[in-house]
């Protein structure tokens, strides 16, 4: 059959900043931030997994705080600063968390990794030298099914040290 265009749906215009670049977009009110990032902006680092705000694979930072983009309406991000994994490195220079995840083999399939790294960044921004228990507690919203978490915790601890050394 020939597909006619789908019926038009109500839309709203929003402006937001993603990885330092301003965007003005026309979105449906029901569109999630994750869909806007992945489909409109082609930023596919954040992943859809559980779809119910449990697993953290879709974690991005909005004004520096971690949110589950799968259940966060794009409309709510209007006027805000969004950071995705694609915006974390400084050019070719990896963020210390990214480098630590490589150095400590803290990922396997990699599906949780963008969200995990951004959640860890939010943690370290808030608590620069967390205890092991604080890291475990903070990351309870980010599931990894591959690694068993041990190497992730090691990587976060190493990144905390590297950041502390950088900031003197």
């Amino acid at each position: 059959m020939d597909a006619a265009a789908p019926a038009a749906r109500p839309v709203v215009e929003i402006s937001l900043t993603v990885n330092g670049r301003p965007h003005t977009l026309t979105v449906e009110p029901r569109e999630t931030l994750l869909d806007v990032l992945r489909v409109r902006l082609g930023l596919t680092g954040a992943k859809l997994s559980c779809d119910v705000q449990v697993c953290g694979a879709c974690t991005v930072l909005v004004d520096g705080l971690p949110v589950s983009a799968c259940t966060y309406l794009a409309y709510e991000a209007r006027g805000r600063q969004v950071l995705t994994i694609e915006g974390l490195a400084d050019g070719d220079r990896l963020h210390p968390l990214q480098q630590a995840f490589i150095d400590h083999a803290a990922f396997q399939c990699g599906y949780c990794t963008p969200g995990m790294i951004l959640a860890a960044k939010a943690l370290l921004d808030e608590i620069p030298r967390p205890t092991a228990d604080e890291v475990k507690h903070y990351l309870r919203g980010n599931i990894c099914r591959c690694t068993g978490y041990k190497k992730i915790l090691e990587a976060v601890a190493a990144a905390a040290e590297a950041l502390a050394a950088r900031h003197g």
Binding site: M1, A3, A4, A5, P6, A7, R9, R38, L43, T44, G45, A46, K47, L48, S49, C50, D51, V52, V54, C55, A57, T84, I85, E86, L88, A89, L94, Q98, Q99, F101, I102, D103, H104, A105, F107, Q108, C109, G110, Y111, C112, T113, P114, I117, V135, K136, H137, L139, R140, N142, I143, C144, R145, C146, T147, G148, Y149, K150, K151, I152, L153
Partner: protein, 753 residues
Amino acid sequence: MAETLRVVGRPVPRLDGLEKVTGRARYTVDLVVPGMAHGAILRSPLPRARLRGIDTSRAERLPGVVAVLTAADLGDIDPYYGQVIRDRPVIAIDEVRYAGEPVAAVAALDPATAREALDRIEVDYEALPPVLDLDAALAAGAPRVHTRRPAGAPPEAEGNICFHARVARGDPEAALAGAAHVFEHTFTFPMVYHYAMEPHAVVAAAEGPAVTVWTSAQHPFLVRADLARMFGRALEQVRVVVPYVGGGFGSKSYTKIEPLAVALARKAGRPVRVALSVAEACLTTRRHAARVVLRTGVDRDGRLVARVATIWLDTGAYADNGPRVTTKAARRVLGGYRCPHVRSDAYAVYTNTVPAGSFRAIGAPQTIWACEVQMDLIAQALGLDPVELRARNLGRRGEALFDHERPLDADLEAGLRRVAAAIGWDRPAAPRTGRGLAVGITDAGAEPVASAIVRLHADGSASVHESSTELGQGVRTVLAQIAAEALALPVERVGVVASDTAGTPYDRSTGASRSTTVMGLAVEAACQEVRAQLADAAAAALGTGTGSLVFEAGRIRAPDGREVTYGEAVRAFFAGPGGELVGRGYVRGGGRWTPPPLFWEVGWGAAEVAVDEETGQVRVARYASLADVGLAVNPPLAEGQDEGAAVMGLGHTLFEALRYEAGQLQNGTLVDYRVPLAEDLPALATGLVEDRNGPGAHGAKGMGEGAINPVAPAVTTALARACGVVVTELPLTPERVWRALRRRRAEQAIPAG
């Protein structure tokens, strides 16, 4: 003396590291194919029903809908698939066999329209009485899940028995009659969901004779074979491409939703993307629930004299990999123990529930749990230390436990003593804490059929072309290391091109811990071919013989000190600016691989748990895991496999179980289905035994599954020592433990006699 290795055995950074930490790694769910439509699947609300009719006309009229697929569209193809028993239709035909089975599918210009169209499809179901668990399926006169005999069904399949496997030797009944002690226990293991974080996803295109699918499949060549057979295509007309896969654990083994996606794309006349949600992945495959009945006879010293095992595996509505799971379970329940008289019967049983298939260490966690908990109960009854009882019964290295098997290739007792020491086995435990340990062996490796191609380019860099799927286990990194070692190249000069059946050569499958061993050997053989060609080219360029050339870091040196780089040798061979040398490596079945298995995968584990007797909450405080890996090609990656498997084992030990009520899955989302979190991580120590005893390159052998097996028995027996209750049903939820504690208290309150 062991050879000196430069690259193998070192903590080389993963090849996929930069892509995965920057978000640039592309998975099937990330792909956009020009012109692609979006698929959505209508699923049966009933566990068993006759399909009296489906009216799709209102859905087809919805603007934006491209195609609606039902069984009526399958008349010109063979719509059934399944690795051993071809009982699963592309989409329900005449009958539905579980709640969640696809009955229709829509392709639309956008996902929202596709979902909206599902609501406009009218299905007329005639509800039929379902069989929802093992007891119901096995009851006399039970309705049959399959009323027609599917292709490939074994002759012994009758009623709801899908498959039967037996391991037998001697006269176990007579031996049990003469045993000093006989123990009988029944163990129950739940349905478990893999939760690979990327749910199954496919983009399919079927325009003209060519069929192309991008899929999250673990075994692209087996998917290709199924699609070619079903849709009447030659193998060369079907192309299966597997990008990075967001976790497998068996959930993406064999063929899952690819036939549906191809059928939908064929009808739509354009590419279609079908990306399942986690809730749908829960309705696609799971681990077999099991009931294991063990009767074991021992002599006065605790030596096994006879063992009779009866294993019932709930395989759900379709066989999937159930037959192989059943065959493995029948063997794996016996463990690494000597026992002269044995009969082990395993049955896969159809029920009207989600089909069960492969899951990390197929048939093993269910049966090794039963075997190992019973070993502890025997030790306890005889007043023996559990380590000592096991030591008296474990087979020795080099000993074949069955005539038709490869001899044991690991020292099972030494490993057990090592994890016991790691957990402080001989030290007194604190109040309300206990320690337990276990050992499991699995006949690993699957079919050893693989091919690899290695290309040495004109600049001296090399590409490995192979089709083992990168699921996160690090196979590309490991294969690059093996190639770099064999080619005498820095690992940075080796790339891996993987998993495209149109461009990378055959690999049977990615699973059963086989890739490092099997594909590793294929890659090594391909490198040796290249190296032989390179030697000829260099000898000609240097005007010397091939015998005394030294290969080192991309250069070839003659005895007189003159040298050429690999690139110079390649260019000299072709007498031009470019060219490349191509080597191929095959690994074939038979020969060195008989008798089976390819190798024994061994996992040892020891746990220390604390129990809160008020709430029944079990906390695993410490866990020691040990794996026999032959040689860890990349030690951090091997450790990561072991850690991940052990923590996954904590899941089915402590909280994971899919729950059904009235034929409906009750907890098929991550809100209700609890997997291990960072907070659940115990103090975890992983050890690797590396005595180069494996059949792979440099003595490597497979790993990554073994560590999941000892967790449940180690924790269950640790719990028993902590508080005196033996729980024979998993998972060890607080309620279950609390009820067991209450029963024990009630029993203790009643005066004996």
